[in-house]
Point group: D2
Chain length 364, copies 4
């Protein structure tokens, strides 16, 4: 291994000249420096540095799934890097507590000088969303209109171009479809599965009907909910029915991809599914942390502004609250439990199926 | 100081015989022991121990506010103990990550044996809610009906009796009303305040109108929101108008209490307001952490059950999601920023006002 | 799947009658109740509940390694459960912040009534240590004498009996020895490894010698350190030399086990090593978290007592500080980096070696 | 309040052009880019941004204490800002978990290219230490020699100049000395205190002597420790004795300052001491978090390098481990509990003393 020929000095290596001279206060231009504006700037700069790191990891994950076959050792690297993304997300969530040391009154001392800048103008955050799979058509209505509104033309074009590329969601969907989990000659898994779910739903129906602590109204409501769950189950085996629910936004994954993901979740303890299961779990956690971040961020904004408008001219907290629930990317993994069966009622994987899987998975 | 006459042994002192023999698995009664049921039980037992500690702190806080006058050194103790409650809440929130190490499939191995037990049957959690101020009339509709539904008669009566007592919310409202912050002979604070807010709102209106990145539709929406904020401001000075908004659930504090709280927030850096401000901030954080806990808990339940029913026979996550936003107790403090002015435009507190306050506050 | 025949009620299921009646204050017996004694008791009871859960997980891990062969799907379960232990440890570490809300003065109000109880009497914590592998001979000198001193005879016997059983450390050592990683017919890994390390050490020597920012004294010191590292490297290939270092406490794993662990670390990205590497990493983290817990605990005790004696009659913080560094169990994994080579200089695993490994590993 | 005349755009405001172009990989210059070098750079850049924020807060705190009199409302601001520093420190500590997602092997891929850069060259971190009060004479021996060794001349001069200025430690010492807490005409506090401590020490002696679970050797050791504590107590009242202990490094605060700090701790619930007590507690926590950061950092370095040398040419973990214990700044507050009495045995503050204090404190 070669060595560097020029000695390295800490501050030069990190370009601290750039990093530490990038805090320029707006308040100083129009009045005296507002003490907390420095915090406001630094908090956002740290966010952007972490966003850059998350994109750095995500890009290599996308590279892996762009290839025709995903090797096991690549999946190992993918899981390793997504776990890093998750650790960074936890830090981002905790970082809100630092921002919250700024009182609303302190924020008011410089808020007006920032108009119309807004966190919605963070290009890197939008890149993260798009690359993960939150493209325009999946955004909530309000968001569809305003997503590109606030950006300068060059940024808008850059992101709109990015929307035309395959996202991680789409690549994962394709990869799941390619996995050979749906047909086994002698192993009638899906037939057994269908039978087991019917029994489970019937059992749930009885639990509700026999629960004396529920009012009639509540029972009625619960039975209606159960009916919907039953419809979801039926849809797994019915292409047309599934397609309808997909159109209605009930699912995002294709039927085939959902079935593969379900199979992996059911048999997650099988060594051959160890890495695929870790991978799907990482995606679920990343989505969950993103949702949690939006929620905590919305609470912080509300506490900071009340119903006052933000610097971008809109009362951001309303918007953020709406996006919290709706802008999920991998929600099908999040809802996967709906379709899960207890390990006890699952048919054991036959030896020849296991063997085939071991071989097949590493070649897709 | 006396000493104990009988030597103390660690395990006896902590009654570990009771604590460590209290994990009785349901799964073991009907099948083989489900490994994760132990985790499920212990997680909930730890929750209940912390709830007991939180009630222990809360009870002494209620005792202080039951008295006619609250001394400053008592407020010092109150803040100290509420900060302890906040630290415990953070732990409770982080504890969800331990529960999340149980996969949905592992939960299914014993879920059916727990019917119809439910976390909604935690008496201590309901005590916390009621004592803080979340009485039946403030609950969301669905919650009003079902809150007592699932409980055994003795527990129901116990809690219903508790609802007739004064909650912390009510006591704080009274205490704020008693503070002599609204009339000062020579200092026309509220008059100046009214004038300053008019100017601020006018300025906000201009920010919206001149923002070229907003569509007409968005501008219209923002101006409507601003109109509502303006109505809130006006209500502060208009007893009848305030009363209407209070009836509609827009406010919970009385007009007088809200004005006192606002005054404390505006002048929070004055030493005389140091403890009162810390106290109100604690209440806001406790409410925020409670909300965050409900939200994270709801996400965890969804991940665990999907749209399946819980052990209590209802799909808990829907319910929890609803309570997240609605069941706020001290939401007026949370929204206080709506009415805040930047420090720069506030009139300085006259010396004689400060002096009077120093004297008056310690005698209420 | 069967269902329960008797309805379950939350409070009965969790035995809250036992759990919530187990807080008996010593201060109340001799004076008035000290408010913070409740916190003190509950914090320790929560610790004990988590210890029970950790032991519950650890016991099943020990069961797996007691068997002659460890199947891959069992390793999957082991990693899953050890990750749960790690999450619990993080909670235990954060829990110290709750204890720290008790001021030293508040502790003094009841400290004298607890004599001579001590946290060193926690049987479950000692069980954890012993089962992980911290047996008497590996404890620091002071600890060797006092470990059993404070216990009642039945507790002492119980733990001494446990010391005669195989610990996780010993089982892991055996399992590593059994792995077929040291001899491959055509692949002279260890020969190549020896050559590569010689080059690396030579390169490190040059880095030190050419570093102009180091004083002569520092250079001398660093070169001496490098000499020790070189001796460690040489010992890997020299049975007698290794044995000497093992006797001196420099290593704990056997030479063969260390070499296997090193091989796994070097090729951790190979799918066949994915679970073994996760497993070794879990053990390292558990050890690190235990160390961190002791350190934070020692700081908390110092802050609480200064140089005063604790309830057990000894100034606990001195003791704790000593144990921090010394009582490591899996320190060889922690120090593994000493022997690691960059991926770039590693010889690629030949295909037939990979194939053999895939087969061999699942059969040991 | 004026408004900005030029519209602000998020990316321009935060100078993201500088921030996001400051990641220049060394590995790329000599070989192919090492994936994890980006993480390494960004983690350190985030550290430096937070250091800048901490210095920003610390500088205003120093400004306050440079003045002749510290007003109460200034102390309120000081406490608010130091609490922000503490929140940032918690984030810095948690950030280590992100760095730990880099495996030792990944680090080896670019380590050699960074020679001889080292974290010890962080000027901002050294500024923090010096401004808090960790000047050369208080550093441990090894540190005294090497602290300035690795720096470029201009950085060395800059820091050496800073050492000639008053640090926060010195300013706090002066402020404590100025507080009028040591002489009250009719209130013989220190006399009563001396009597109470004698009784407490005698009681502790009996606890040790009567403890049957201690060996004779342990008893001897404990009694020796108690003797030292007794000597510390005596020193408080004995100028010459105190001076000796101060010279030996047993204390850092002057005798008078220590007595004032002790008085504040004893009566921390008095409203007049509310802010001073919060202030001293903040300083203790900042010191504790700094220590914890060094410790966690040292563990991380050991895990990353084992006994290999770091990029700066020295095996950093040894050094770090040493600094952990020794480089305390406010250790006298940390050890304050040694001298604390339970609230129950303290004489009540007479009314006229309280009144005088209220007046006097705000004028110092």
């Amino acid at each position: 291994m070669k060595k560097n020929t020029t000695p390295v000095y800490y501050g030069d290596y990190l370009h601290l000249d750039k990093i530490l001279s990038a805090q320029e206060l707006q308040s100083e231009k129009y009045a005296t420096a507002a003490h907390e504006e420095t915090l406001f700037i630094i908090v956002h700069q740290v966010y952007e540095l972490w966003f850059k790191q998350m994109l750095h990891e995500l890009n290599t994950v996308l590279d892996v799934f762009t290839q025709e076959a995903v090797e096991d050792h690549q999946l190992s690297t993918v899981v390793h890097r997504l776990n890093r993304v998750i650790k960074i997300q936890k830090l981002l969530n905790d970082q809100i507590s630092v921002m919250e040391t700024m009182t609303p009154q302190e924020f008011l001392s410089f808020r007006d000088y920032l108009v119309p800048a807004s966190g919605f103008q963070s290009i890197q955050f939008k890149m993260l969303e798009i690359k993960l799979g939150l493209k325009t058509q999946y955004r909530i209505d309000f968001d569809k209109q305003s997503f590109y509104q606030r950006l300068e033309p060059k940024d808008r074009e850059f992101l709109q171009n990015m929307e035309t590329k395959n996202s991680l969601f789409e690549m994962v969907n394709d990869w799941l479809e390619r996995l050979p989990l749906l047909d086994f000659e002698d192993f009638k898994f899906w037939h057994l599965y269908e039978k087991a779910t019917q029994e489970m739903l019937q059992s749930d129906r009885e639990i509700i009907q026999q629960n004396e602590t529920l009012t009639d109204e509540e029972k009625h409501k619960e039975l209606t909910e159960l009916g919907k769950t039953e419809a979801s189950f039926n849809a797994i085996f019915d292409e047309a029915g599934y397609h309808t629910l997909l159109q209605e936004g009930h699912f995002r994954l294709s039927q085939k991809a959902l079935m593969s993901a379900l199979f992996i979740h059911q048999y997650c303890e099988e060594p051959v599914f160890n890495l695929p299961f870790q991978f799907l779990t990482c995606l679920t956690e990343i989505d969950e942390n993103l949702t949690l971040w939006r929620y905590r961020h919305a609470m912080m904004v509300q506490r900071m502004l009340g119903t006052k408008i933000g610097t971008g001219g809109s009362s951001g907290h309303d918007y953020l609250k709406k996006t919290t629930e709706s802008n999920r990317i991998f929600k099908d993994f999040f809802n996967m439990s709906t379709f899960l069966l207890p390990k006890e009622v699952l048919p054991a994987l036959p030896v020849n199926v296991k063997k085939n899987l071991g071989f097949s998975l590493s070649s897709v």
